[in-house]
């Protein structure tokens, strides 16, 4: 009985977690617009017929519509953004936003962060490394994210920024300014490192081809996206 319960759990849990995460992201992205779209649907009640009868169904269709519209408008904006005229327009809009008192701060910070995260062919997390942390006698896995700010540079010592995430949810951590000589690179994809951290060290990257994982499809080499 217990054995069967756990077999069922192992099968169902990944699916459930996937659905929960996807629904969470979908809700998060569509929340600000779904009300408008719902109202729009309701004004065309007669043409749409049975679709608008059920509130849950209406909400779901509204969310999917918002997501599709969002994808289309992002692609469209990206397409336009590469045209000359539109570039000029974008700069003008930036200049206007830079003048509005409080909006200015939020806009500038979010713009700079998105730019540095998404632009270029840098990996979002940086290079997987391990360093002595928090002291010489222990080691922690982290991501080398780049150089240190100019103000923090010291003479004769080469420093690098390293992000050490917490376990089991790697959404917080420390950014350390570490000597370059102390950093040992790891030739492993960021995805595998995250799996290692989330499972609190029980998942090992070497065991990808061990029995039990043999049926998983072959891994592609980590892409720089």
């Amino acid at each position: 009985m217990k054995k069967y319960f756990f077999t069922g759990l192992v099968l169902i849990l990944p699916l459930t977690v996937t659905v929960i995460l996807l629904v969470f992201v979908l809700d998060l992205l569509t929340e600000p617009f779904v009300g408008m779209v719902k109202d729009l649907f309701l004004t065309f009640k007669h043409q749409l017929g049975p679709l608008t009868k059920h509130p849950k169904l209406l909400l779901f269709i509204g969310r999917v519509t918002v997501l599709l519209l969002m994808l289309i408008s992002i692609f469209f904006l990206g397409f336009l953004g590469r045209r000359f005229f539109f570039k000029y327009l974008h700069e003008k809009m930036n200049a206007i936003l830079e003048r509005i008192p409080i909006v200015r701060r939020v806009y500038r910070i979010t713009r700079e962060i998105t730019k540095s995260v998404l632009s270029g062919d840098k990996k979002p997390f940086g290079k997987p490394v391990y360093i002595p942390f928090p002291h010489r006698r222990s080691v922690a896995i982290g991501f080398e994210t780049g150089h240190v700010p100019k103000e923090a540079e010291m003479e004769g010592i080469e420093l690098r920024s390293v992000f050490i995430p917490t376990a089991p949810h790697p959404i917080s951590g420390f950014v350390l300014l570490t000597r370059k000589d102390d950093i040992s690179p790891l030739d492993i994809s960021a995805e595998e490192i995250l799996k290692f951290l989330v499972s609190c060290g029980t998942y090992h990257f070497e065991e990808k081809n061990a029995p039990g994982h043999a049926d998983s499809s072959p891994k592609q080499p980590p892409e720089a996206s």
């Binding site: 054995k3 069922g8 928090p134 080691v139 917490t166 376990a167």
Partner: protein, 215 residues
């Protein structure tokens, strides 16, 4: 007066907290289904009466939650039994393959699947051994739990046998740092992991020996 109030609080608080945590978990598990099951149950007029001090709606709600919990349990067992049959094994294998091909879904699915597989398949010794580790520097110590041996690639880099240790934060032990220590730097404690968690959650107020004395 004050003494009695505190005594009452000490008795009541653990019960209240336990109920709150269990109610939270039950709500979390049953929330996606409770609407449907309630609608289904209200069609039959069996439990549409109040019970003791509970209103009919409450009876309906709790009844639905109970049914869902039982349903979830048996669904798990059923899936487990079915999964061990040969024919369905290949069916599950195929559905797995399909999920591995959907663009964004496959990343999340693959990751959670591998983590959950290792969590359930890993030997039961994970997080059973309490250790003291030098943290955050070599002359102070912190309580940690042994996860398992460190990945080979890190051991080779250091050139010695290492263990992965989870050092939880206080008072919320759901975050922490995953650190690797040489075996010789660890002090193995003869302490139950539950006692270690109690010690951490209470910010060091509850010491395991005290618990044994007071029962």
């Amino acid at each position: 007066m004050k003494k009695y109030f505190i005594t009452g609080l000490v008795i009541l608080l653990p019960v209240a907290l336990t109920i709150a945590i269990i109610a939270f978990v039950v709500n979390l598990l049953t929330k996606p289904f409770v609407g449907a099951v309630e609608a289904f149950l209200s069609k039959f007029q069996i439990i549409n009466k109040g019970f003791l001090f509970l209103s009919p709606e409450q009876v309906l709600h709790y009844g639905a939650q109970l049914l869902i919990l039982i349903g979830i349990f048996f669904a798990m067992v059923l899936i487990g039994i079915v999964a061990r049959w040969f024919f369905l094994k290949s069916l599950i294998h195929y559905s797995d393959k399909i999920l591995h091909k959907i663009p964004i879904v496959n990343k999340i699915y693959k990751t959670t699947q591998e983590i959950i597989k290792t969590l359930f398949a890993s030997d039961k010794n994970s997080f059973r051994q309490v250790v003291m580790v030098p943290f955050p520097h070599s002359s102070s110590w912190a309580i940690g739990l042994v996860s398992r041996e460190s990945p080979k690639i890190c051991e080779d880099g250091i050139g010695e046998e290492m263990l992965s240790i989870l050092v939880p934060t206080t008072p919320n032990p759901t975050t922490g740092f995953l650190l690797m220590y040489k075996k010789s730097d660890l002090i193995f404690l003869n302490m139950k992991p539950e006692d270690a968690i109690k010690y951490i959650v209470s910010c060091g107020v509850i010491i395991p020996e005290q618990l044994e004395v007071s029962g």
